[in-house]
Symmetry: C2
Subunit: 393 residues, 2 copies
Amino acid sequence: MDHGELGGFLLAFAAALVGAKVFGELCERLGQPSVLGELLAGVVLGPSVLGIVPLSFGILLLAEIGVMLLLFEVGLETDLEELARVGGSALAVAALGMILPFLGGYLLTLAAGFSSLTSLFVGAAMTATSIGITSRVLSELNALKSREGQIILGAAVADDILGLVVLAVVSQIAATGTVALGSVAKAAGLSFGFLIVAIVIGMPLARVLVRAVAWAGVRGILVTASVAFALLAALGAEKAGSAAIVGAFAAGAVLARTDRSRDIHHAVRPIVDVFAPIFFVAIGAQVNVGYLNPMVPENRPALLLALGLVVVGTLGKFAAGYAARGKVRRSFIGAGMIPRGEVGLIFAQIGKQNGALPEPVFIAVVIAVFITTFLTPPLLKWLRPPETKGSTS
Amino acid sequence: MDHGELGGFLLAFAAALVGAKVFGELCERLGQPSVLGELLAGVVLGPSVLGIVPLSFGILLLAEIGVMLLLFEVGLETDLEELARVGGSALAVAALGMILPFLGGYLLTLAAGFSSLTSLFVGAAMTATSIGITSRVLSELNALKSREGQIILGAAVADDILGLVVLAVVSQIAATGTVALGSVAKAAGLSFGFLIVAIVIGMPLARVLVRAVAWAGVRGILVTASVAFALLAALGAEKAGSAAIVGAFAAGAVLARTDRSRDIHHAVRPIVDVFAPIFFVAIGAQVNVGYLNPMVPENRPALLLALGLVVVGTLGKFAAGYAARGKVRRSFIGAGMIPRGEVGLIFAQIGKQNGALPEPVFIAVVIAVFITTFLTPPLLKWLRPPETKGSTS
């Protein structure tokens, strides 16, 4: 890379870190999760306001590394047995949490006078839950290990996998007008199968890794080997048609069962501290504040549709929380599924590129994605189960 | 970034980490510094052998982050007062270590029948010392804080600054056939001035940073703020016409004087563990093993010239070690200045681009850069002062 490039990258990287921490601290002082501040820092530093943090390849690469390591860390804090115990609830929440927002988004867009293809894409974009936002808030609230936290996490993982299947389906419909159900079933089977195989194969592999590390003496071997393990699991997930972050999560979850999990977590933590904020800042940086001004007449149809989408998207996920069984706070679970984040943006982007989403609908989806994302941290904080309230966050 | 790109990047990142640690461990078991293994891993994984680690933008970006954080960590282990005490020796070593290899490279290339412009570029390429390689070996040998280590470090920092000035001079000569001495003096003053100003301004800034961090409560604030501080210092160095790594080093050196230096070092360490190997692997990946085969007749003139350059380049830096004063092991100091690494490659690249270096001479310079780089770790290990031998590395 030449010197001009390096300079711009250094400035963006440093500004994102400083902005994330300053806004994060402000949010904490106002009683809000710091991730909300990181998202807001992204809006302010991003292209539509100050333009200090561009959505350049370098920043997006760090964001990608950041969210993978974040999910790896979340995996390290996950108890697979507990996750399996709440698996039924998690799947029910995930399924209902995709069906209800899909129907809501579809019918609303149809009612607003758009084509059924457009409505299909909007419905699909409403199905995705951002596991990054949710797990970060859960971690800040110290609720990751609560039963509610594990149900949300399980449902968000299932949602991430199902979301990619839905994306494949609607993309196929947009391209060919029809859908081959066999290929859809295969894609769904492959990506769920990957997760199960990854965990089954990953357990002995994780033990081998920990033993090999104990035998080696070179500096930094434990953290390097663990990060490489996470990267390879992410690559495997990617190749199996699942999401890279699901692989990183699985890698963390199997390493959590080894006797070095505390040391790994301790070493990974500062790396997550430095790179994960870049992910949240990069999401915020994608907000175009120009679209949010209701005084501009052209913005109004998009804003109106966006408000409708927020209502159906929020209520749909919220209601899905009530599919959870057992003695749990269902409102908290539903709220945890609300943020759309990066997955919703990917849907919107693809729908715009293949012509399924006309400009005002695209803008409406993007706005709805952001509102649900920004809404979740305070909502979760407000609804959190009483037993997590006294703990340090 | 799309999915194919992400997959290739994940594979390259993971392979570089695994390769670095496997080869590093092998080297340590053979009694060699592990950084030699990381360089060799790069050769094997790089484009000219297996092709698993390409010199893609993503990998080069991680390498850049890695070397900056490595120098930041070296700065954190540096005692500025000790560095100032040995400053005279360091400057003498740096100056002589540029003059001797320059004359050797210049006269040798001239004697081999090449033009004086070509000879000028070759001489200039021989002046650079790679602070990354040297400081990593010193750190592994636990010799960073020895008097010899501090002289080498000081000389390597001075060399990095002077090297950029030399690069500006020869580039100007190649472009215009002449050189404006005023602009050269200005560039040299600016980049040395930056270092002094950075340290003078940096000291109170570092104290302000530590106090602000103590006041804030948000997670990861200490490591994030420290890394941002290093990035901003690197950016400042870059803008002042100095090298980014010099800025990162200065940031570490001033933070070393605060009362949180141990905590910062503790948190930065695993990040360096994960990213610095990418830098050394990326250097190794730039070796084209095809050029090294003496059985190919076309390779022979380049190999012959390369051998000559290795001799004058090694002897020149080695002799410069004897410019150090006081009770120190001068051979160790000279050996520490030998590796050319990435800076030598930048010279060769620019010389090739502007036509000053014909193909065989370019190849010869690149080979000489690599041989000096690979030679240094075992040489330093062999020559290290007796008082560091008993210590853990």
